[in-house]
């Protein structure tokens, strides 16, 4: 019988040193603990959110039914005027996210098609880092830009636009999510093999036909995943909304109105220094849980789409 490498090593006296073995085991353990930090983090996130959220719903002033159906959200008000319906925050979040996606999806997909299919390698190498800079601009800076530059221009164009509004915030957020959509879509379009494109050209297809009827459909899973991921980022984005869209929970689909999103409410509640254990503080955790669940579902969906529908090429 052939000796295994380990047996062979022992036979010629390598790896005999016990202390070295113990040292290696110790290092392995330390590294394992480092990797476990992420698991502990997840548990801590889920625990901290759920503990306070459960206390929130156990409070006699709150009912799950009210949380889901009431159209007023005023947990930081005095006792007699408190209402705990989360729908205004959800609607507000959707308003901003809608504008962001309307801006971000066409721009992101368009730029991805250009960068992957039409740009020369040199252009791509120059532009990609610049898009990374756009992705790296702190969102508080984007919020400043939305509030002081974009909003005044929009208010000249759109009559009745409030100073704080989801259009301005969503517009800037659309550019914020552009690099996310663009880079993931470029990756999945680049993964479409050359042979397929060449086959299409060989059948007499034009460049536009190759892009729209061959490359984009073949890369669709990655492209759709990038849209979902971008949506998740838009929902979780805080500073642009907190600065430019306001913090007034309103149940409205009128994009000119000041609204509040889930994230801007969390900021507002945290800034107000709600004492630990108060209903205002617990409302913060309840909204945080809703936000966490929503973004988690979107992220999982995005991962699943990539895994299940990705075209495999040999």
């Amino acid at each position: 019988m052939q000796p295994t490498p380990k047996q062979a090593a022992e036979a010629i006296g390598i790896n005999k040193s016990i202390s070295r073995n113990v040292g290696d085991q110790l290092i392995r353990l330390v590294l394992f603990l480092a990797a476990s930090v992420s698991v502990v983090t997840t548990i801590a996130v889920v625990y901290s959110l759920s503990a306070e959220t459960i206390s929130f719903f156990l409070d006699p002033a709150v009912s799950l039914w009210e949380f889901l159906t009431d159209r007023r959200w005023t947990p930081l008000f005095g006792e007699s005027q408190r209402y705990f319906g989360i729908s205004p925050l959800i609607i507000g979040t959707l308003n901003v996210t809608f504008v962001a996606l309307v801006v971000g999806i066409p721009l992101g997909l368009g730029s991805a098609i250009y960068l992957s299919e039409f740009a020369t390698a040199r252009t791509r190498r120059t532009i990609m880092p610049l898009l990374e800079i756009l992705a790296g601009i702190p969102t508080v800076v984007l919020g400043y830009f939305a509030l002081f530059f974009v909003t005044p221009i929009l208010r000249d164009i759109i009559p009745g636009l409030n100073l704080f509004n989801p259009i301005s915030a969503g517009l800037v957020m659309g550019f914020m999510i552009l690099p996310t959509i663009s880079s993931i879509s470029v990756d999945s379009m680049q993964a479409v093999p050359r042979a397929i494109r060449e086959a299409a050209y060989g059948l007499g297809a034009s460049r536009v036909e190759v892009v729209l009827k061959v490359v984009v459909p073949a890369a669709l899973s990655g492209i759709v995943a990038s849209f979902i991921l971008a949506m998740s980022r838009a929902i979780g984005e805080t500073m642009i909304v907190a600065l430019a869209a306001g913090a007034k929970p309103t149940f409205t689909f009128d994009l000119r109105e000041t609204i509040a999103t889930m994230t801007s409410f969390i900021v507002q509640a945290a800034k107000g220094d709600q004492p630990a254990g108060s209903i205002g503080s617990r409302a913060l955790y309840a909204v945080g849980s809703t936000l966490f669940l929503l973004t988690l579902m979107l992220n999982i969906a995005s991962n699943q789409i990539v895994r299940r529908y990705a075209e495999r090429y040999e």
């Binding site: 983090t41 610049l130 702190p138 900021v267």
Partner: protein, 404 residues
Amino acid sequence: MSVSILSDAERKRIEGKRRRGKAFVAVTAVPVVLALLLVATLFFDVITDTVSWQIVEPSQTTASWSFSEGFAWGNTWENVVTKELEARGEDPAAVLNNPEERRRFKLRNRVELLWSLNGQPLRYVVSNSRDDTVDNIGVFEGFNNQEALLANLRDGQELRLNPWLDFAFLSKNASRSPLMAGIGFAFIGSLWVIGLVILFSLPIGVGAAIYLEEYAPDNRFTRFIELNIRNLAGVPSIVYGILGLYAFVRLFNFEVTVISAALTLSLLILPVVIIASREAIKAVPPSLREASYGLGASKWQTVSRVVLPNAVAGITTGMILAVARAIGETAPLLVVGAAGFIPRAPSGPLSEYTVMPIQIYAWVGENDPEFANVASAGIVVLLTVLLVLFGAAFYLRRRFERSW
């Protein structure tokens, strides 16, 4: 003339198709141009906002010193103050060397680079800190209406061009008056927080990456860890703030200190650090490891002396980008209670703090419109730091990019 096998109609059809193709390429290029235009507009807007015109009523006669007289790297402030005190007939050394006198002088006077239109050109002005600002006018608006503005000045009023971002801005601290506000404490706070973030997240992040790439068996728990990291990377940053509020601020009772901010941000960037480090480690070819084992090296010897040295450039690049993200992060720190105004500079892990993005957010929220100019000056400082970091990451990536 060549004979075409195509009929006129066919040629026309192909021509049209080609034209439409060109138009399509142009259309897809538009978003790229728009994105770059937005970045350019943003930088332009922020930079021009750091300058504004001000109509002020100086409440005492003020001295001023030309740019070249006052200009000296590092000790501009001392330089100008010395000249000012000499002119007032006081002993500069007595004021500058006595901490109490120095503080009093700082409270009552401000030293700034200004341009007075009906006075002298660009120069350092020492003036009363309670100068009444009558009006604050945007830089372009001021240029367009300059004559009218000058004509309408009353007696004792001055039209000044104020560059808000000057050397004094870097050393001044939070203040209720926009003229006296600067980014000093916030800059120091950012250094403290980021220093600790690196201390926490670098060893844990790289350790986790080494484990997952080199040690981890292919089993359910490993896949669970990997799934976890992927999901954590997608959690909105504000949720980390909620975790920090619950765990670090309240449960561990660190309250609103540098350490609770640093721990929160460390958890936030950990997935990014791990993913980037894994990529870098993965890029080291297996043949190097095999050669090391062949020479009789143990696993850890191979990892520490062969794999890590070859992955260090990639790990550093990833770390720089993660740190750049942590520097600009605002939302989680707002939730863990960071404030815009602190009485003294952060001096350790357990001291009160503010950081640059929080300071900028606090300024944007002020009622006084001049704080918008102060905020833009802060943004320019923040963006400069980030651009340096991006530049370093970009350079490292280019410099050490190699194919095996």
